[in-house]
């Protein structure tokens, strides 16, 4: 949750990251539909993470992808 992010500006802000448990992922592609900037399931049926670090403006969208994953395979690492 963004509440834990420090408001002190630093040169290298530590960004939250997407983590996928590929043992659980079954490529349902819901994440891709919710957050296409970050997730893509290609025609080989594998999930590709397009961008690991979550832009602050997209935090709610990526959280939505986490919540809607039918296999609960995605998490956000602070």
């Amino acid at each position: 949750m963004m509440a834990n992010v420090t408001s002190v500006p630093t040169q290298e802000t530590v960004m939250a990251k997407i983590a996928v448990n590929f043992d659980l992922c079954e490529s349902n592609a819901v994440c891709m539909q919710v957050a296409p900037k970050y997730f893509e399931v290609r025609d080989d049926d594998f999930l590709y993470i397009l961008q690991e670090e979550i832009d602050e403006a997209d935090a709610a969208t990526v959280q939505e992808a986490v919540d809607r994953c039918p296999k609960q395979a995605i998490s956000i690492e602070p």
């Binding site: 079954e26 891709m32 539909q33 919540d67």
Partner: protein
């Protein structure tokens, strides 16, 4: 608002609690659930948990770091509600008076008439149900003979899992096709074919007439066509009933679910979400009650936001494109949209014969759904187009471009 009570400690209720905290609500949240367990995920109950491929601990919904500060009332049941005073009576725990109430009390499986007291007849809703069915499917001498009553998605998944465990499986369906009230015939047929491909004895258009028992245990199911199927076990999947009886006299409108407005509000300070909630979905111009996992998540979240918004929430219209998936054997079935048996169907990618395809579904010149088998990314792309709205002709034109 300082005190919110949530009735129902499953997916919709838990996601609602999570959303209240994310939205900054720092008052008390009481979560009332009639099972003794913390919230868990139900889809694996007919798949990996039933197959023995996932441990019960792996399906809990709480994640490490989910510190929601919930006041849990588990193994507890709300028995009456007064919507005007936001007052709940609990079976064991007295009365609660909240500032806001979220109704997420779900649905329960419809029992098969005439099976009362017969051993070996299983319903499937809870983790305990799943573990009991698994035990029954995997003990005894020789392959268990399972009769599944109802070829809906739960029945179909139980049949698939049981085949995987080596059981002899018969599926009995009163209608002429699986999902005949939901899907156009060609799609219902392919849902039937994936089972016959795998050696399931599928009896369509056959009602259940009665049961034979041996020493109190099921021994055969008698069908309306005069035949009889020997059985060690019966699994019943003939639909669910929303849990609304306890709301009689609450002041809420009950009509096959808790009736809400377009925003999920059922009364001032009362919202509903998940299997129990009926609301007019503006996108489809239709009152609906959706029993799918994805709706429990998004409606639970929406209802929490709607409750917090109070009088300012009248514009928070809930108009999702429903999404559903089912895993059977090595097939992944996905459906987005709101479809009916009389809708048009056009296969646009792959082939039904290969059991790997995407079909668009249309009605009155509009795209209303997409159905896929083993084509998840394509189905999800069509979900976006359904959310944006698209005519049938535009959808077919886009499909012919190969996108």
């Amino acid at each position: 608002m300082r005190y919110i009570a949530i009735v129902g400690a499953s997916l919709a209720g838990y996601r609602a609690a999570q959303t209240l905290r994310r939205e900054g609500f720092d008052g008390t949240i009481t979560l009332i659930g009639d099972e003794r367990r913390r919230p868990y995920d139900r889809p694996p109950l007919s798949k990996k948990v039933l197959a023995g491929e996932a441990e019960p601990e792996s399906i809990v919904l709480e994640r490490s770091g989910d510190d929601l500060g919930i006041e849990w009332r588990l193994d507890e049941r709300a028995v009456s509600f007064d919507a005007s005073g936001l007052a709940l009576s609990l079976e064991r725990g007295g009365e609660l008076e909240a500032d806001g109430v979220i109704l997420a009390c779900g649905a329960r499986p419809r029992p098969l008439p005439g099976t009362d007291g017969i051993l070996g007849v299983h319903l499937l809703r809870t983790l305990d149900d799943s573990l009991a069915l698994r035990e029954a499917l995997t003990t005894g001498v020789g392959p268990r003979r399972l009769v599944v009553v109802g070829a809906g998605f739960i029945g179909a998944e139980v049949a698939a899992t049981a085949r995987g465990l080596g059981c002899e499986v018969t599926v009995v369906e009163a209608l002429d096709r699986p999902l005949a009230r939901v899907l156009p015939p060609v799609l219902g047929q392919v849902c039937a074919d994936v089972h016959t491909d795998q050696g399931v004895d599928l009896r369509l258009g056959a009602g259940v007439d009665g049961f034979d028992t041996d020493d109190g245990s099921i021994s055969a199911v008698r069908l309306s066509d005069g035949s009889s199927v020997e059985a060690d076990l019966v699994a019943v999947g003939i639909g669910v009933v929303p849990n609304t009886e306890w709301l009689d006299g609450s002041g809420l409108t009950i009509d096959n679910g808790v009736v809400c407005d377009e925003t999920t509000l059922a009364a001032p300070g009362v919202v509903a979400a998940g299997d129990v909630a009926r609301w007019p979905n503006r996108r489809f111009g239709e009152s609906m009650r959706v029993e799918h996992w994805d709706n429990a998540v998004s409606m639970g979240q929406h209802a929490a936001r709607r409750l917090l918004a109070g009088d300012g929430g009248v514009d928070l219209v809930y108009e999702p494109v429903p999404y559903f998936w089912s895993d059977q054997y090595d097939r992944k079935i996905q459906l987005v949209g709101r479809v009916g048996p009389d809708d048009q169907v056009q296969v646009i990618d792959g082939s039904i014969a290969d059991r790997r395809f995407v079909a668009l579904i249309g009605r009155d010149g509009q795209l209303v759904g997409a159905f896929g088998m083993n084509r998840p990314p394509a189905v999800q792309r069509w979900r976006t187009r359904l959310e944006e709205g698209m005519s049938w002709d535009d959808a077919l034109a886009l499909a012919s471009e190969g996108s």
